[in-house]
C-alpha cells in the first residue's frame, strides 16, 4: 500500500469506496481484513465513511463472520452463490450446496448489511430455460438488494476452453444463449430487479453498485494486489496500469520495494471515447450525448447519423432526449454494435 500510495496520481485522493474482491477475501480472518482496511484509511486516504464491499463465498458467511465484518465498517457483500442447482454447482466446481448458498444470503441479510448482492452464472451447457427461471425465482425470493447474472462464455485457454476443445462440453448455441439473455432481463424485471447494465440488476436505482459504476465512467481507481488494475487522469491524459498476476514476480518486486507493475498504457482520446462508448452502451441509461461531447469532445450522434438511423429502425437503439441507449435486443449484441460506431 505504501508503494501504491507513491503513485502520484492518488497523492491527495480521498477514496469513497473500497472493494475487497478478486480471489476470496472472505477466507481471510476478520483481523486481517481489519488491518487491510486500516491501511487503506491511513496510508491511502480512504475516507472513514467509505462504502466498503466484500466479496464472499457462501461457506464463510456465518452470523459471527457477518457481525465481525459489520464491525469493520463493511457495508456491502457480494455473495458468490452462482446457482441454486446441485448439478450446476458441481459443473462449476463449487464447494457449497444450493442450501448453503441460500442460507448465506439469508444470514447476510439478517446481519443488517445495507447491500447484499448475489452473483449467479447462467448459460451452462445444456441448461434449460425452466431451470434458469427457477434459479432466478429462488434468488429473487431471498430478497437481496442486487443481483449480478453472468452468462457463461467459454474462452480458449481457460479450463472450460480446454474441456470444450476436448469435446467434453459444448458452448450453448447462440439462439439458446439469446433466449436465456432475454429471459433473464424479463424475469428479473417482473420479479422487481430491473436491469441497469448487461449483467447487473438492482431493486432500486440507489441500490446499483456504487463501485462498479466507476469502472464504467472513467472515475479514477487504484488497484492493489495481484493482477489489479488502476486508472487515473493526469496531465498527459489518462493512464491505466496493472500489477503482476503471479505471486512470485509480485512478491519479488514488493520485497525489493518496487511497485509490482506488469504493464501500463496511456489512453489517447480515441481510446477513451471507445471505452466510454462500449461501457455506456452496456448500461440501461445509455450514453448521455451532451456529457459525452463535453468530456470526450465528440458529437457521437452526428458522427454516426446513418448508423443510428438504421439501428433505430431495426429496434436496436433508441434516443431519449440527450440519451442514446440500446434496446433489449440491442443490448444482446452490444459488442458488435460498439464496433460499428465511428469515434473519430
Amino acid at each position: 500500500m505504501r508503494l501504491a500510495r507513491d503513485e502520484g496520481s492518488f497523492a491527495d485522493a480521498a477514496f469513497d469506496t473500497v472493494y475487497l474482491g478478486g480471489g476470496t477475501p472472505s477466507l481471510a480472518p476478520p483481523e486481517e481484513l481489519g488491518r487491510l482496511l486500516a491501511g487503506a484509511r491511513t496510508l491511502l486516504g480512504a475516507r472513514p465513511d467509505a462504502w466498503i464491499t466484500l466479496e464472499a463465498n457462501p461457506e464463510q458467511v456465518t452470523t459471527a463472520a457477518c457481525a465481525a465484518w459489520r464491525d469493520l465498517g463493511i457495508a456491502a457483500v457480494s455473495l458468490g452463490v452462482q446457482s441454486f442447482d446441485e448439478a450446476d454447482l458441481a459443473f462449476l466446481g463449487r464447494g457449497h450446496s444450493p442450501e448453503q448458498g441460500a442460507d448465506a444470503a439469508r444470514t447476510a441479510l439478517a446481519a443488517g448489511f445495507p447491500w447484499v448482492s448475489l452473483d449467479l452464472i447462467y448459460g451452462l451447457p445444456g441448461q434449460s430455460e425452466e431451470a434458469w427461471q427457477r434459479n432466478l425465482e429462488t434468488a429473487a425470493a431471498l430478497a437481496p438488494h442486487h443481483l449480478s447474472c453472468y452468462q457463461l462464455t467459454i474462452h480458449d485457454g481457460t479450463p472450460f476452453g480446454f474441456r470444450a476443445a476436448r469435446g467434453e462440453l459444448a458452448e450453448m448455441p447462440e439462439p439458446a444463449q439469446a433466449r436465456l439473455f432475454s429471459l433473464t432481463r424479463k424475469s428479473l424485471s417482473r420479479l422487481g430487479f430491473p436491469a441497469y447494465e448487461v449483467s447487473n440488476f438492482a431493486r432500486a436505482p440507489e441500490l446499483r453498485s456504487r463501485h462498479n459504476r466507476k469502472y464504467w465512467d472513467h472515475t479514477p481507481y487504484l488497484g492493489i494486489g495481484l493482477g489489479a488494475h488502476s486508472f487515473a487522469w493526469d496531465a498527459r491524459g489518462a493512464r491505466r496500469w496493472w500489477n503482476e498476476r503471479k505471486i512470485r514476480p509480485w512478491t519479488a518486486k514488493v520485497a525489493a520495494a518496487q511497485r509490482p507493475l506488469a504493464g501500463e498504457e496511456t489512453l489517447d482520446i480515441a481510446a477513451l471515447r471507445l471505452e466510454a462508448l462500449l461501457l455506456g452502451l452496456r448500461t440501461a441509461e445509455g450514453i448521455d450525448l451532451d456529457r459525452f461531447r463535453e468530456r470526450y469532445g465528440l458529437d457521437l450522434a452526428a458522427a454516426n447519423e446513418a448508423l443510428l438511423a438504421r439501428l433505430t429502425a431495426e429496434d436496436l437503439a433508441e434516443r431519449a432526449g440527450s440519451r442514446l441507449r440500446l434496446t433489449p435486443r440491442g443490448l444482446a449484441v452490444a459488442d458488435g454494435l460498439a464496433a460499428r460506431f465511428t469515434v473519430a
Partner: protein, 612 residues
C-alpha cells in the same frame, strides 16, 4: 559481340527475309526463336544466356516488359551468301489479332510451329488462316521431335489434312536440343521469298509494333514497304496525322544498332522524340511529310476495345498507386484505354476498355504483380448500342450510365462468330453450352478424324462470363476457341441491380439479357449472403430490375454478442479486442448501414468456379 550487320549499302532486298513464327502456346515458339538467334549470332550458349538475361533485367529495372522479340539476324548461308533475317514477333492471342495482322503485314513468310506430340491446335489453325489471308509463304516446322511422345507421322498427317500444307515440306526440329536448326535456316532463305518494294518511291512504312524506352520514349518498329527512312527527315503518320522529326533509325539486334537508313523491304526501328505509346496506333503508316505516299498501307483498323470493366483498388488509399500504375502501363500498352470512374460502394477507380478478356487478364495481372496492387474488377461488359426514343443513338458499356428503360427504343449488342475445336465426343456438351449462351447458326466440320470444328454466332456478352472456362471443363481441356466480331444485333437487355437492405450496390449492377436476369441475380445474392458476415440485424440481399424484385436472400442477424463481465478494472483488454475488431472493418464498404467486406465483392465478381 555480334558480327557486323550485313544490312546497309551492301545489302540488297534479295538478301532479306522477313518472317514471323506462329504457334500455339507452349509449342515452343520462344525456344525456337532463341535458338535461331543463338545460331545466327554465333555466340556460345552461356554467353547468349547472359546477354539475354542482362537485357531483360535491365528492362525489368526500367519497368518494361518484353513484349516484342522482333530482331534482325545476320545469317551466312552454307554457300557463303549473307542474309538479314528479320524475325517479327506476333502476339499470341485472339485479343491481339489486329496486332497479329499488322505483324503479318510486315512479313513475307511464316514458320508454322506444330508440336510433335500435341499436333495441330485451334490457335495454329486460326493463325494459319490469317497468314494465308495475308499471302505469306508458310514453312511448317515440327518441333519437339526429341520428346518420347513425339509422333511426327501423325503430325504430318494433320499438317496435310487440317492445314492443307505439304507435309513433306515440314522441317523437323528440336529447338531444345538445337537439332535441325541449320536445315531450318537454309529452308528460310530458300523457300521464303525476299521482300518487294521500291526504294525510290515515296516512303511508305508500316508501324507494326512499338516499344517504350524510358530514356528515348516510343521506339517504333516499322517495316519499310517503299522508299527510304532516314534520320533528320520529318515523317507523318497517315491516320493520326501527327508529324515527327526522325532522330534515329536502325536495326534490332539484341540491342538497337543505329543505321544511316532503312530502305524498302527492311525491318527496323525509329525514334522520333515521341514521349509515350499512348497516341500511336499500331497499323498506322509513316510517310515523308514533304513527299507523301498517295495511300497508306491497306488494312488499317483502329484497335477498338470490346470489353469494359471498372477497376477499383481494394484499399481506397491505393487509388493514387493505381493511377500511377495505369499511367505507366499505358506507356507500353497502347490498346489499353481508361477513364476515371467512381462507385458509392468501392470509391474511386477507373473504367477500362480492353481488346478482349485475355487483355483484361493481362492488365489485371500486371497491375497486381508488377505494381503490387490488390484490385476489384467489376463484371466485364460489352459496349451496347442504344437507340433512344428521341432518335439519338448512344453507346453504353457501363451499367451506371444505362438509360431509363422507358427512354430506350432498341438495344443492339455485339455478336461474334466463335470457332470451337474439339474431339468429336465432346460435341454434344459444347453444342449445349453454345445453345445456353444464345448461340445460333451452328456449323460443323470434321477437320481431322475424330476432330470437329464447330462455329456458332453468339452474343459477345455471353462469352465474357466464364465461357472459356466452361468449354475447357466440358472438353477436359481438349477444346479450344477463337472468335471474331461480326455485327450488332437486337438484344433484349435489362439492367439488374443488387440491393443490400434496400440500397443499391452500384458496383454490382450489370446489363444482362432478360432471360438470364433472374438466375444471375440469384447467384449474386447467394454469393453475397455467403460472404457478408452476419450483422446485428437481418440483412435482405435482393436482385431487382427497376423496382421489381427478382431474387432475394437474407442473412440472419447475430442474436447474442455481448461480454457478460466488464469490470474489475480490466477495461483495456476489452477495448483492445474491440480495436482489433474495428481494424478489420476498415476494409469494409458500408452500403445501407451494412458492412460488406471487400472479399464479398471479389467472390461475387469472380468468374464462376462452382459451375465450371
Amino acid at each position: 559481340m555480334l558480327p557486323a550487320p550485313p544490312g546497309g549499302a551492301d545489302t540488297t532486298v534479295d538478301q532479306i527475309r522477313n518472317f514471323c513464327i506462329i504457334a500455339h502456346i507452349d509449342h515452343g515458339k520462344s525456344t525456337l526463336a532463341d535458338r535461331l538467334i543463338q545460331r545466327c549470332g554465333g555466340v556460345e550458349e552461356r554467353e547468349f544466356r547472359n546477354q539475354i538475361l542482362d537485357t531483360m533485367e535491365l528492362e525489368r529495372e526500367r519497368g518494361i516488359t518484353i513484349k516484342s522479340n522482333t530482331i534482325s539476324l545476320p545469317y551466312t548461308a552454307p554457300d557463303g551468301r549473307e542474309y538479314e533475317l528479320n524475325l517479327i514477333d506476333t502476339p499470341g492471342h485472339v485479343d491481339f489479332s489486329h496486332e497479329v495482322r499488322r505483324s503479318l503485314m510486315a512479313a513475307e513468310g511464316a514458320l508454322l510451329v506444330v508440336d510433335a506430340s500435341q499436333g495441330v491446335e485451334a490457335q495454329t489453325v486460326a493463325n494459319l488462316y490469317l497468314a494465308v489471308e495475308y499471302g505469306l509463304e508458310i514453312l511448317p516446322v515440327i518441333n519437339k521431335i526429341d520428346l518420347p511422345s513425339a509422333d511426327p507421322e501423325r503430325v504430318m498427317e494433320e499438317i496435310d489434312s487440317d492445314l492443307g500444307l505439304d507435309p513433306f515440306a515440314a522441317v523437323p526440329v528440336s529447338a531444345k536440343l538445337g537439332t535441325g536448326i541449320d536445315e531450318l535456316l537454309a529452308a528460310i532463305v530458300e523457300r521464303l521469298p525476299p521482300p518487294g518494294g521500291d526504294p525510290d518511291a515515296p516512303l511508305q512504312a508500316l508501324l507494326f509494333d512499338a516499344q517504350y524506352d524510358p530514356y528515348r520514349g516510343a521506339v517504333l518498329l516499322v517495316r519499310v514497304m517503299d522508299g527510304r527512312l532516314r534520320p533528320g527527315m520529318t515523317v507523318r503518320l497517315m491516320h493520326s496525322e501527327a508529324e515527327h522529326r526522325v532522330e534515329e533509325v536502325g536495326r534490332l539486334r539484341l540491342k538497337r544498332v543505329p543505321a544511316d537508313e532503312l530502305v524498302a523491304g527492311e525491318v527496323g526501328y525509329l525514334i522520333a522524340g515521341i514521349k509515350s505509346l499512348a497516341g500511336l496506333a499500331i497499323g498506322d503508316t509513316l510517310t515523308a511529310a514533304d513527299r507523301p505516299a498517295a495511300v497508306p498501307v491497306p488494312g488499317y483498323r483502329e484497335a477498338k476495345p470490346v470489353v469494359f470493366s471498372s477497376i477499383f483498388p481494394m484499399a481506397t488509399d491505393d487509388y493514387e498507386e493505381l493511377t500511377k500504375a495505369l499511367e505507366k502501363l499505358k506507356l507500353n500498352d497502347a490498346a489499353l484505354i481508361y477513364e476515371k470512374d467512381s462507385s458509392a460502394a468501392l470509391g474511386f477507380g477507373f473504367r477500362c476498355g480492353f481488346l478482349g478478356l485475355l487483355h483484361l487478364d493481362v492488365v489485371q495481372e500486371r497491375l497486381e504483380r508488377e505494381y503490387g496492387l490488390s484490385l476489384i474488377l467489376t463484371a466485364p461488359s460489352v459496349r451496347y448500342r442504344v437507340a433512344l426514343e428521341d432518335g439519338r443513338e448512344i453507346e453504353v458499356d457501363n451499367p451506371s450510365y444505362y438509360p431509363d428503360p422507358a427512354a430506350i427504343r432498341q438495344v443492339h449488342e455485339p455478336y461474334i462468330r466463335a470457332s470451337l475445336w474439339m474431339p468429336e465426343r465432346y460435341l454434344g456438351p459444347v453444342m449445349e453450352l453454345c445453345r445456353e449462351r444464345r448461340g445460333t447458326q451452328p456449323t460443323f466440320q470434321y477437320v481431322a478424324a475424330g476432330r470437329i470444328e464447330m462455329t456458332s454466332e453468339l452474343p459477345l456478352a455471353e462469352v465474357l462470363f466464364d465461357f472459356y472456362d466452361r468449354l475447357k471443363s466440358l472438353t477436359q481441356g481438349y477444346g479450344s476457341f477463337d472468335y471474331e466480331l461480326i455485327d450488332y444485333r437486337p438484344a433484349d437487355l435489362v439492367k439488374v441491380d443488387i440491393l443490400v437492405n434496400g440500397e443499391k450496390v452500384d458496383a454490382l449492377s450489370q446489363l444482362v439479357h432478360r432471360e438470364f436476369a433472374r438466375p444471375r441475380a440469384l447467384r449474386y445474392c447467394e454469393r453475397l449472403a455467403k460472404t457478408i458476415p452476419r450483422q446485428q440485424f437481418k440483412i435482405a440481399v435482393q436482385g431487382a430490375i427497376g423496382g421489381q424484385i427478382i431474387a432475394r436472400t437474407t442473412i440472419a442477424p447475430f442474436r447474442k454478442d455481448v461480454t457478460a463481465k466488464c469490470y474489475g478494472g480490466d477495461i483495456s483488454r476489452k477495448r483492445k479486442l474491440l480495436e482489433k475488431q474495428r481494424e478489420g472493418k476498415k476494409r469494409m464498404k458500408i452500403v445501407g448501414a451494412v458492412e460488406i467486406p471487400q472479399e464479398a465483392f471479389v467472390a461475387v465478381l469472380r468468374a464462376d468456379e462452382e459451375e465450371a
